[in-house]
Point group: C2
Chain length 372, copies 2
């Protein structure tokens, strides 16, 4: 069998910390693993299946959790973003998005043939997206053509910054511009309700932050967008065009549903996760490894600048791969091989002893190489 070498490692890759399966999801995987299993019970469309209770999940649990009117399952956050963009795009129109957006936001816009205007961040060391700048870019872009959508990444996947999304939503509303929130690193980790934000659309990622087996995501929206974004086929009257009829319809959906009760609970403990992340960052700084991005930090995803490790890499036998190898030796995974000066990591869901173990590892590595 193809083994996953990192399976029992402490994984601090922000991509992975929120996607680890619950025990319930592991059981669901095997029970529903075959092909398209859920379709055994189909009566016409995925979200209408009553048993297993996909209908209740999509039409009751998810809208409540996301704080929205209408929700759907997608094959990932990016696919949800693309669905919204493709539904709203018209010839020669624009989208305004934050400059910290995930690459897939930009690629989704290209696929939907939208022109992209980016709101720059404030640069080193905080890389913040400011609401005022957002307003400015919207205004400038409107001079170039019709703007059909704005998008904000909350938080972004590089610095873990949480911009003032309510203020950005207000700005968009005053400009009569719908706002899409990419919550791939928020939905399933922290409390977040579309209605409280005041935005129009929200996407989340099952594999990134909802303890699910990928590819799977969620899409939420205000009722007023249902007819546009979930427009139905002219020929196949029950099928929603932007979802190509049905999306994730096997084990991935069942893991999302199986983990959901635990995910709902863990979101309530978000304060503890933030506290853990801040403590971790401050201990890293004691080692000379500086946390960039918002400070004090409000998310488990953190970006670090480690000049001290970079200096070591210049002399180390394994060069820039020394850090990866040293961490691997200690069964810690998640910092990309070859990175030393700048890297991101996440403490989400780690036990205190695991956090301590990771900190101890950094300390030992620095001390060991400082001697040589």
């Amino acid at each position: 069998m193809l083994k996953r070498q990192t399976k029992d490692f402490i994984n601090i890759d922000p991509l992975q910390t929120g996607g680890r399966l619950t025990e319930e999801a592991k059981e669901a995987l095997l029970e529903w693993g075959d092909g398209y299993s859920v379709c055994d019970f189909c009566t016409g469309r995925l979200d209408e299946i009553r048993n297993p209770p996909v209908y209740d999940f999509v039409h009751k649990d998810l809208p409540e959790f996301l704080g929205c009117d209408i929700a759907r399952i997608t094959t990932g956050a990016r696919e949800g973003m693309f669905a919204v963009m493709n539904a709203l795009a018209k010839k020669d129109t624009w989208i305004v998005m934050d400059g910290n957006a995930h690459y897939s936001s930009y690629v989704s816009a290209e696929r939907a043939k939208l022109n992209v205007a980016e709101v720059p961040n404030t640069g080193y060391p905080e890389y913040l997206i400011k609401a005022e700048k957002f307003a400015e870019v919207i205004e400038e872009t409107k001079k170039k053509g019709e703007v059909v959508l704005a998008m904000i990444t909350y938080p972004d996947g590089n610095y873990g910054n949480l911009p003032d999304v309510k203020k950005i939503a207000e700005i968009c509303e005053s400009q009569d511009l719908p706002l899409l929130v990419n919550g791939a690193y928020a939905v399933g980790r922290m409390p977040l309700k579309l209605k409280e934000i005041g935005a129009d659309f929200i996407v989340g990622s099952g594999h990134k932050s909802m303890a699910s087996s990928g590819p799977i995501g969620v899409l939420g929206m205000k009722k007023e967008w249902e007819e546009i974004v979930l427009k139905r086929s002219s020929k196949h009257k029950n099928k929603e065009i932007e979802l190509l009829g049905c999306t994730a319809r096997g084990a991935s959906l069942m893991t999302l549903m199986a983990s959901f009760p635990a995910v709902k609970k863990r979101v309530e403990k978000w304060d503890e996760e933030v506290k853990k992340a801040r403590e971790f960052a401050s201990k890293m700084e004691e080692l000379g490894i500086i946390q960039l991005g918002e400070k004090p930090h409000n998310h488990d995803l953190m970006f670090f600048e480690a000049k001290i490790l970079y200096e070591i890499s210049k002399k180390a036998k394994d060069g820039r791969f020394f850090l990866y190898k040293e961490l691997k030796k200690r069964r810690i995974h998640g910092i990309k091989a070859g990175l030393t000066k700048h890297f991101k990591l996440s403490t989400y869901g780690l036990k205190q002893e695991e956090v301590d173990y990771v900190l101890q590892a950094f300390k030992e590595i620095i001390e060991a190489y400082a001697k040589t």
Copy 2:
């Protein structure tokens, strides 16, 4: 836990018979179940991961298996069709597709904003798609506007008919029109090579026909289309726009890879599957249940007309649900609840004793109700 009631039933739903996991795939599910597991080993893009050997699978095994130059992983056959259509679509252009096409072909075309012209089948009782008719519709459609793509479903998912795809490919080539083959019910069940057909694109479905956990599919194409269909982002130079960067990147991909050696082998035994299907159909006909579609039949997916069951349903206590309930009692699943007069089923991968058991069930049911 949410149980799958039908897990240990004999499943004759054509959606499910080719998607049942191999033992290797079941192991892979648990090993790689977490979130985005495969991304632990990412160096920039899904298909470039060397360990697990995604690179070899996508760039060597799959092209060889599909008989094409370039292959990619998608989240399903429909997503592959949409990627091709969206890449080729221009304002006010057309696609010509067979009238037996799966609904998702039509919906994909609508999503790509293509106008659709359909090639009608020959109607009752065979519902064949004729190559000459295909040529005729292409010619007519060209008078209405630019045709950018033709599509043929091989076989279709209703009758299991296998049209003369080589002849259709010749016609398209002579018209300078690229041809997309929807092989969702072929790739992984029967031998099929894009180059032997002479078409331009092929899509397959992991959950339908490659013993994989959905959502997952494959896309193959001739080299000449690479730059158009796999066009890269102007900003994120390594990311393919139509794939939104990366597609299925967790357990679903690993089940596809784990089942692949077994899938390659089973394809070689296709003749046995056809023989089994034909024998089944002939025994059904002895019971008065007539196989529609191509005859003799060349695929495990078969469509039946059962006037005798329809007559029973008019008087049965459970009405039109009697058949579903009688089969369920016998632990047979796959004919939609409420259907009696027309239904499809598949004998793919069933052992001879299971085939006999299903036939015996139909016989018993008919006899039991005939008495009353």
